[in-house]
């Protein structure tokens, strides 16, 4: 396993564009901390984002992982080109001739993706702790450790998304088309949801579309803004019911795990079937 990882990281290490994009990703991740400094005036009231409870434990786990997961597209580019470059340079063929098996090739990519996701999760863990201890109103250990399952959700979401990228890279062989395909697929899921909702009902649409890959990944970490203090307060005043189920459920994780397996196995099967 270490041999496969070192092969793949060696390839990435010497590629300037992969290096720049990966570093940019982690730099931008750390910019989440800057949200703390956003201040604006609403009439006579000065609002400071950091005071609105977004950095309170345990909510901060939810908020940070959600914001961070929107940045995954940076790494998606690296991952898609990681596959498509092997095709365009014909180095995939050379790797196989040199004695790497197709299975080892696919595993080396998958392990790399898992390491990327782990690094990103670790980064978020440390950053969230720092931000939380600086701004949270509650810092008791029992509160800090509550809802840490969002880190797990974050990790799964990244691995799932990157596996999808790997699969598309193998399927389409060209990075631009693979990313385009990803976008088209996202539109397709939304249109499909719209049609189901229009012809059937919202419940029907939700129950079917939750099995789709992108929607399944989205469900791991739901939109966190309804949980903000001032929105909850506003909703209470309006007597509106915005009870949204934001927790991580086992079946949501399972759906994503199944997709990860399908994507990686599918990519391997495609590779195995193809003549180079």
């Amino acid at each position: 396993m270490l041999r496969l990882l070192s092969i793949e990281f060696y390839k990435l290490k010497h590629s300037r564009s992969s290096k720049v994009l990966s570093i940019a990703y982690f730099v931008i991740l750390s910019f989440i901390a800057l949200i703390a400094s956003i201040e604006f005036n609403l009439g006579d009231i000065q609002i400071r984002i950091a005071d609105q409870g977004i950095f309170n434990f345990p909510f901060i786990w939810h908020f940070n992982t959600w914001v961070a997961s929107t940045l995954k597209f940076f790494l998606a580019i690296v991952i898609v080109s990681m596959i498509s470059n092997e095709y365009s340079n014909r180095t995939l063929k050379q790797n196989l001739i040199d004695g790497l098996s197709k299975k080892e090739f696919m595993l080396s990519k998958f392990y790399t993706v898992v390491v990327f996701a782990l690094l990103s999760t670790l980064f978020m863990f440390i950053m969230t702790l720092i931000l939380g201890y600086s701004f949270s109103d509650y810092t008791e250990f029992s509160i800090v450790t509550r809802e840490m399952e969002f880190l797990l959700a974050y990790f799964l979401k990244l691995v799932g998304f990157f596996s999808f990228c790997l699969f598309l890279g193998v399927l389409v062989k060209r990075s631009a088309f693979a990313l385009g395909f990803l976008f088209v697929w996202w539109i397709f899921e939304n249109i499909f949801y719209g049609i189901l909702r229009w012809k059937g009902s919202a419940e029907l649409a939700d129950s079917i579309v939750q099995f789709f890959p992108l929607e399944a990944m989205k469900n791991l970490i739901n939109l966190p803004f309804q949980r903000l203090n001032f929105i909850e307060a506003a909703a209470n005043q309006l007597q509106a019911d915005i009870q949204i189920d934001y927790a991580l459920h086992w079946y949501e994780a399972l759906i994503v795990l199944v997709w990860i397996f399908l994507f990686i196995y599918g990519a391997y099967a495609l590779l195995k079937k193809r003549d180079l």
Binding site: Y10, S15, N89, Q94, I97, G99, L100, D275
Partner: protein
């Protein structure tokens, strides 16, 4: 003798096209093999199959004694097919280091092998800055990293200029003289003739011949003769039992053998008949002539 590669009824169909059809042959250790065939005869497809990049439709092949998986066996093989494939953004040495990691080879070999192909002074240049000849030489260095049991070369001189072709040939000859088994696919006959001891000839995916170059044809070669008394010479040759046919061109007589006969024996036979030669050369048909004969026989 140790068998390095065995092909058994290997077949590849691309839709209706039969690229390789029921191909069987074996490669023994220590010989230099040439796979001959016109463009599109299935040479590269055959090599692709044994190198794990093309899936066979049916049939089998095994490396060495067949006890290891193909990809592990390939770690003991060096191969270059079609054109050199490397990561353009890495330098020569970096590319070779990656190959070392894949093949589980000590990276110390890198400098030694770059020296073999005269690229040591360019080891820190990026692959994308190399000329085609240099890329091809780097590919040979990469294939040699593991001191392979067998070196497979597919059209190694394709697209090179005369100097490049010469350099590659010299390198191949040096490697062959070191005792490495070589399998060389080419449509250039003189190339194969210059370095190979054995040939496999395929056309349209079907094997026509496999064996030593010398035994390619049943023919025993021919003599080129010249002398003052031409009529007597022709008469003497016509009565000799070992000749099948004669040809005269510009006073030079070409006599084709049907049985083996040494130049010495012929010379003394003619001398007894009081015919003194001014020119005596014994020759074998060139590979090109034999190849054309062999393919013509089938038409």
């Amino acid at each position: 003798m140790n068998t390095i590669l065995t092909l058994k009824n290997l077949t590849k169909h691309y839709g209706k096209v039969k690229a390789v059809n029921d191909l069987s042959f074996t490669i023994e250790k220590g010989n230099v093999y040439g796979i001959l065939g016109p463009n599109g005869s299935g040479k590269s497809t055959t090599l692709g199959m044994v190198l794990n990049v093309v899936n066979a439709t049916s049939g089998d092949f095994k490396w060495f004694d067949g006890n290891d998986t193909t990809h592990n066996a390939l770690k003991k093989v060096g191969a270059i097919i079609e054109r050199p494939n490397f990561y353009p953004y890495m330098t020569a040495a970096q590319n070779l280091k990656l190959v070392c990691t894949i093949k589980d080879v000590d990276p110390k070999k890198i400098e030694e092998k770059l020296e073999v192909v005269h690229l040591l002074d360019r080891k820190d240049s990026r692959f994308s800055t190399f000329s085609l000849g240099m890329k091809q030489r780097l590919a040979i260095a990469s294939a040699l990293l593991n001191d392979p049991e067998i070196l497979i070369l597919d059209e190694p001189t394709n697209g090179l200029d005369p100097q490049g072709i010469h350099q590659i040939r010299e390198i191949i000859k040096n490697i062959a003289s070191g005792g490495t088994t070589i399998l060389l696919a080419s449509h250039l006959l003189d190339e194969v003739e210059k370095v190979c001891s054995h040939v496999v000839i395929i056309r349209n995916g079907v094997k026509l011949y496999s064996g030593p170059v010398d035994e390619l044809n049943a023919s025993h070669g021919f003599f080129e003769l010249r002398c003052e008394r031409q009529q007597d010479l022709i008469l003497a040759l016509e009565t000799h039992p070992d000749f099948s046919s004669l040809k005269e061109e510009n006073g030079l007589i070409t006599a084709f053998l049907k049985n083996p006969l040494s130049a010495e024996a012929l010379n003394s036979y003619l001398f007894q008949k009081n015919i003194v030669l001014s020119h005596l050369v014994m020759r074998k048909e060139s590979l090109e002539e034999q190849f054309l004969q062999l393919t013509a026989n089938l038409n």
